[in-house]
Symmetry: none
């Protein structure tokens, strides 16, 4: 549903509540041929009951065979075609650490690198210096002042940081300074359009000052910037669907993406499923749609920790009754992509999808929540961007198309 025409035309008011519960990286793989996946191994009596009462399917995050990053994967779940609506790397890096990227700001990803005495890059990642070494360097960069603009710098991880420049008339049409090879110096920031000339000069001024602050570090003695980008001005989710929409997520990246599409980001303490369910309960009357995000399924998958991922899933299942006692009209439980512990990374495998909607669901034959059950479920295999229209339909929030 790349084009939102139908959703905009057909949505109608209704006193129904939709919950989209994302367990990040939910999809998995068996450790041994013929074995059970993380989700299949987990004891999940509550999810299994929902699966029996509801319907299962599997979603393809972006396109078949494509392993997505968190940004595009979440945009797809919100109904956007991530190939049509790209969020720049700089913006994703900045919002991923909780930095604000407002209309007109230009964000970039930064790498510390090592240069030799001729100024040529010898290591594009500064020996992957650890956070303990890099964070104080980023702290120094934050003190740089450039006329007429504000520049915020935030540390991401290891040798990586993010920069956001804020001011009048900035333009992100800038080429990366990372030459993508060693034995050549970092490139200057070059404008790709005339209108970006001024912005390029300001970034070059900032880099010149930054260089003076890091040049004595044994490894991180230089830096590169790439992925210059601005707020992509995405169509706004609450307007597309006519939903008062809340984001309940503990991690900055997901709060950031939700903010880019116009959801209201709720504040709460803690990062456990129980904390998120409590925050949802507290705001239950004020919203029609809740996007809940559980991070640790993905983290355990990336750690290669099969049992850890199983435990996270079981933990969510154990507190699920607190969400159910709010009586959502529609509850979808799925992931943004697969992160099998066996592969320790985001993959392209379709993601298990559970749809529960007591008033409107057409049940299938499946009785437990797992990859094999979902692959045979009644909803079939479908693009993640079709999920929102389905949730809208089951919440009885769409009128008929045509006579």
């Amino acid at each position: 549903m790349a084009d939102f025409r139908l959703m905009r035309e057909l949505h109608k008011p209704m006193a129904s509540k939709i919950v989209l519960l994302i367990m990040d990286g939910l999809g998995g793989l068996p450790l041994d041929a013929g074995g059970a996946t993380e989700l299949e191994s987990a004891r999940t009596p509550n999810l299994d009951r929902l699966a029996a009462e509801g319907a299962l399917g599997q979603i393809v995050p972006v396109r078949p065979g494509i392993a997505p990053g968190s940004g595009p994967a979440h945009l797809a779940l919100f109904g956007y075609d991530p190939l049509e609506h790209e969020v720049g790397r700089g913006v994703l890096e900045a919002i991923g650490i909780g930095m604000a990227v407002r209309k007109g700001d230009v964000a970039a990803r930064g790498n510390f690198c090592t240069v030799d005495q001729q100024g040529k890059i010898s290591d594009r990642r500064a020996g992957r210096i650890p956070t303990e070494e890099a964070a104080p360097l980023v702290g120094r960069l934050a003190s740089i002042r450039i006329p007429d603009v504000d520049v915020e710098v935030g540390h991401v991880k290891d040798y990586r940081f993010a920069v956001v420049m804020r001011g009048e008339g900035l333009d992100p049409a800038l080429a990366d300074t990372d030459p993508q090879q060693t034995d050549v110096p970092p490139l200057p920031v070059r404008p790709m359009k005339d209108s970006a000339q001024d912005t390029a000069e300001r970034f070059n001024a900032w880099i010149a000052l930054a260089q003076t602050m890091v040049r004595d570090h044994p490894r991180a003695n230089a830096l590169t910037l790439r992925g210059f980008s601005s707020d992509p001005a995405l169509p706004q989710f609450p307007e597309i669907y006519g939903l008062r929409s809340a984001c309940v997520a503990a991690y900055p990246m997901y709060r950031g993406v939700a903010e880019l599409v116009g959801m209201e980001v709720l504040s709460f303490t803690g990062d456990a499923a129980a904390d998120e369910f409590a925050a949802t309960a507290q705001s239950w009357e004020s919203f029609d749609f809740f996007f809940l995000h559980i991070k640790h399924t993905d983290s355990k998958g990336e750690d290669g920790d099969f049992d850890g991922k199983v435990a996270v899933i079981e933990g969510v299942d154990a507190v699920l009754p607190r969400l159910l006692e709010l009586h959502p009209s529609v509850l979808a439980v799925t992931g943004d992509h697969s992160t099998p512990a066996r592969m320790r990374t985001h993959t392209w495998h379709p993601v298990p999808f559970l749809l529960w909607a007591p008033k409107t669901i057409r049940p299938d034959r499946e009785t437990s929540f797992g990859e094999r059950a979902c692959a045979h479920g009644g909803l079939g295999t479908f693009p993640a961007s079709d999920a929102m229209p389905l949730l809208m339909a089951h919440a009885e929030r769409l009128t008929k198309f045509g006579a």
Copy 2:
């Protein structure tokens, strides 16, 4: 298959017969969680045999989550993308009661309404006056004469009617006169392009005369027009597929849509499945493709009559042998959308699809015709507009694409 290039390029002559048997609103829901749907409850030995010999799947009428009207739902079954090929509301209303809408005609939907002494609308639907009261009023409107054009008026139901204007140089680019609110007068017909100026004047002249004929009615003392539209000049079905194509439908709406795509509409008496099968038998040699339409599955669904819908399905099954003894090469049995008795309305749920083609079918594991069986069937879940290419292929009427 919104674009017909492949069908146009690849179709070839073959002495095979295709039957597309539509049970309107076929898809259903269980009355109670875990129960059987209407189709699953029905005793259908003949359909079950076809399901066992053939293959099952489920079709998505327009887009996931979208509940379609009959017009777009049938266009999709005929292979058209209903978002690309829209038929105007006025045209659908007119053909729905059997009025002809020819190239150049402009059709509109009409509502009787109630206006107060200042001419402001107090009830947009004239208290939903019943057909007995409205039909005589429509009869009076039919007597209106306007210079240079013919105007036909037909009663639809209750407070609703249809108007078709026929003449030279008419343009349907006209805005609705229904202001969509009360306490304001009906709007005049306004042209949305210069070329529609003349048509607007003629409709305004017609409305002025119509007003004088209804003004003494206690409730239906005024009227509004909306959905001005013309024959959408759809690509023609017989040409796209190279099929001599017949429509066997008792109800005007479906005959009208078939006519818009260029099928030949067969005349016959009665509206039972047996009548349609007899009409099909009579014209068997003259056509390659038969679109058969059974209305009452949908009507019973809209009435909330679960058992009634079951009975209609069983009635069709009982006389199915008469159709089978014609020895179609390919028979598809499906619906245009779901109309679960539990929801009393068209819904977005996928529609059970049965494909039987003794020479070419790849069988699956399913042995009975029902929603759960179709959700797990070998054909998978696919857009309704992909059905025609499948039927063409199974009728061996398509050549290979590429070398």
